[in-house]
Symmetry: C2
């Protein structure tokens, strides 16, 4: 039989300890900020019936990008491409029992059938944060405050990222009332806005003119006014006086009170997914090498209702692991790799009983101890310890057993100490975390 | 459109915060014991090429129980039913770079197409612990010591569980040399041993006789001697003198030095998977209501070699989340549910700016604070806080903002305090963890 490939499946990643440690750093930072806002963790299956995605997530995601297949019982299932339909399903199933506003989060893996590229993998990890049952701008303000708190917790400075905000109601009002588009043309124009950053200005104008059709002259003029607006105050009076703009203004007032400075109103921000119904926002990297949208979210009040219960309002956002990693790398914010092991014990001679006992005692004191009991040569054991980046190496042979005095080496400082057990514990615990 | 079902896919579970908290307790207990032994965490894709399972995991697992399908690029893939082939693939890919013995662990989800029943779900979570590059009994002793340490860390007493040990080399020697079976009959007999606990004694004897064929009288007599052996000393001399038995004896010597008492030699222990090559072990629950094997592992020296590199010896084990949960429930070891949130802030009146500032200050002190900024009625906010089991409720209105003195209620003790900010921090931090 020919041998098997040792490469992971296309578009997925193996996380060796050093990679996994960076991922864990990202997860624990997400977790600590999210829990500090009173959110509780949930978990959910990696497989779902396909229909929960086709119903609302937008045709492209469900049809072209989902890993879908028929199980042995004839059910059409999908590896989850996102968490939102799942968390809505879970909320619907306990519609009566949950306490509102319900604040929920999860950290989970997802799969999408996409062409792998920088920051985009077929399997990816995401934090999902959602608040259910709060209709007001306070919920919208909260998720933006959390996004900001997450960026700060990672060590980002305000100038490293920008938070762009828009509102679907405002978009709808603008399309129908101001640009006077019918519903089909409004959808086309929304999609064109969504692509604006990816196409040239002249292509944008040309395609916009096509959508306006015979009204293109007037339409393009109005469009120009919109795109020139750098803040809500620059918008035409007809839009400025709408209830949607008042909502956005209330939101900005709260966020200014919360001292969030790198915030901007962006009338071209659309967000791809079909299910948003109110505020939408995106956090973008401002670094010239990584100038891109990193993550975002918004209000989606209709989704819980798909599962046969009264709808519940919802606001959420979902940063991804790889995008976060790219951000940290770009801004030199990746922490230095440090082994989770504190002590590597090298044994010499017939000291198994005592070495096991010492290792057990160290572990009981919270010191992570790797014990070598095999009969490998001293040099080989030492090489292993150094290669693993373990900060302390402890030698134990028959002399050490007799005297109760151990030789321990601090690798970073290249210093050896002769210590008894109590001194040993103190020494290892004094290592900076 | 008819509404979608709010139930999870068959055989999978939704983890609401209370369930997720128990799962997190299990994960963090696994993690702390495993890291205390110097193991480092890795992560791996949820999808793998099907062939890595068909090659070695045993026909049933790969063919009947795996979620397998063809991706849009024509590749036959599987949702991982276990971690062992994956971690071997990863070790093979970095055969030269890794430091040996390599100690690796992961906590991940898996799927198998099985009939759902107690302790067995189609999606399940597992800790996987493996040590690569240690040929000796010290590696085998270590994984058994770790299994024991995990049980103890969960609060289990030695009488709550039993560790049964056997050795594949010993099984092979016994089948070929002592029972004088040819290789086909040896496989049949091994499978029959594996089923022993699940069938009646008379069925066992009858099926054994069939395998022995015309030599059944002599065969059954020898079998009786084997099954009567309660320890290695009871084994027939021919087996007792084999190198395989010496290996098991060395292992028991180390484990006795490590003070593991609830250990037993069990010549009928086979372990289902085909890839084991030496020591095999299982941890079983001794409680009459849950008397069953919980998890196990063993030595499998051949698997890394499947990926086109020189083989590396390996020993591993893999406890599952649901089985662990059943054990904790059976022995009343499930910790009490406690919200991860410390303080629920109820706001009254126009205090958004001050409430946000106070919440931000509390969070900066490590106090997880849920802030309500919506205009819900006082009673409704209070009800939400109580339903969520948050230990402290803080009231903030215009009077509190003016005076800087807040009213905080300890729910468990039903006591209210009037405190300033410094006293507030002290009070909340004094809560038992």
């Amino acid at each position: 039989m020919s041998s098997l490939s040792s490469q992971p499946y296309k578009g997925t990643r193996d996380f060796y300890p050093e990679d996994k440690q960076l991922q864990n750093y990202i997860f624990s930072t997400w977790r600590s900020v999210t829990e500090s806002f009173g959110y509780e963790e949930y978990g959910a299956p990696v497989l779902e019936p396909l229909e929960i995605y086709t119903a609302k997530s937008g045709a492209e995601l469900a049809n072209e990008q989902t890993y879908t297949f028929t199980d042995r019982g004839g059910r059409t299932v999908a590896i989850r491409p996102e968490m939102t339909p799942t968390v809505c399903r879970m909320v619907a199933a306990r519609r009566q029992e949950l306490a509102y506003p319900a604040r929920l989060y999860s950290i989970a893996n997802f799969m999408r059938y996409e062409r792998p590229q920088r920051g985009r993998e077929r399997e990816f990890w995401q934090l999902n944060v959602d608040i259910f049952g709060d209709d007001g701008v306070s919920a919208e303000a909260e998720v933006i405050m959390m996004s900001d708190a997450i960026m700060k917790k990672f060590g980002a400075k305000p100038e490293d990222y920008i938070i762009r905000v828009n509102n679907r109601k405002l978009i709808n009002f603008m399309m129908a009332q101001y640009l006077a588009l019918d519903s089909a043309n409004a959808v086309s124009m929304t999609k064109l806005f969504d692509r604006k950053g990816k196409i040239s200005d002249s292509d944008f104008i040309e395609q916009a003119a096509e959508i306006f059709g015979e009204n293109s002259t007037e339409g393009l003029k109005k469009l120009e006014v919109l795109l020139a607006a750098k803040s809500m105050a620059d918008l035409p009076a007809q839009i400025r006086d709408s209830s949607a703009v008042r909502e956005v203004q209330q939101l900005f007032t709260i966020l200014e009170r919360a001292d969030i400075k790198n915030l901007t109103f962006d009338i071209t921000l659309m967000r791809g997914l079909d299910y948003y119904t109110g505020m939408v926002f995106e956090v973008g990297d401002t670094h010239p090498d990584n100038n891109r949208s990193m993550f975002g979210g918004g209000r989606y009040d209709g989704l819980v209702g798909m599962f046969g219960v009264e709808p519940i309002s919802a606001v959420g956002f979902a940063p991804g692991g790889t995008t976060m990693e790219n951000f940290l790398q770009t801004h030199n914010l990746v922490p230095k790799f440090k082994s989770t092991t504190d002590v590597f014990m090298i044994t010499m001679g017939d000291v198994a009983r005592e070495a096991i006992q010492l290792a057990t005692d160290l572990r009981a004191q919270g010191i992570n101890t790797e014990l070598n009991l095999s009969d490998r040569k001293f040099d080989k054991q030492l090489k292993t310890a150094l290669k693993k980046n373990v900060p302390y190496i402890l030698f134990i042979g028959e002399d050490e057993v007799k005297s109760g005095i151990y030789t321990i080496k601090n690798i970073a400082k290249s210093v050896e100490h002769k210590v008894n057990f109590t001194e040993l514990i103190q020494l290892v615990n004094s290592l900076p975390a």
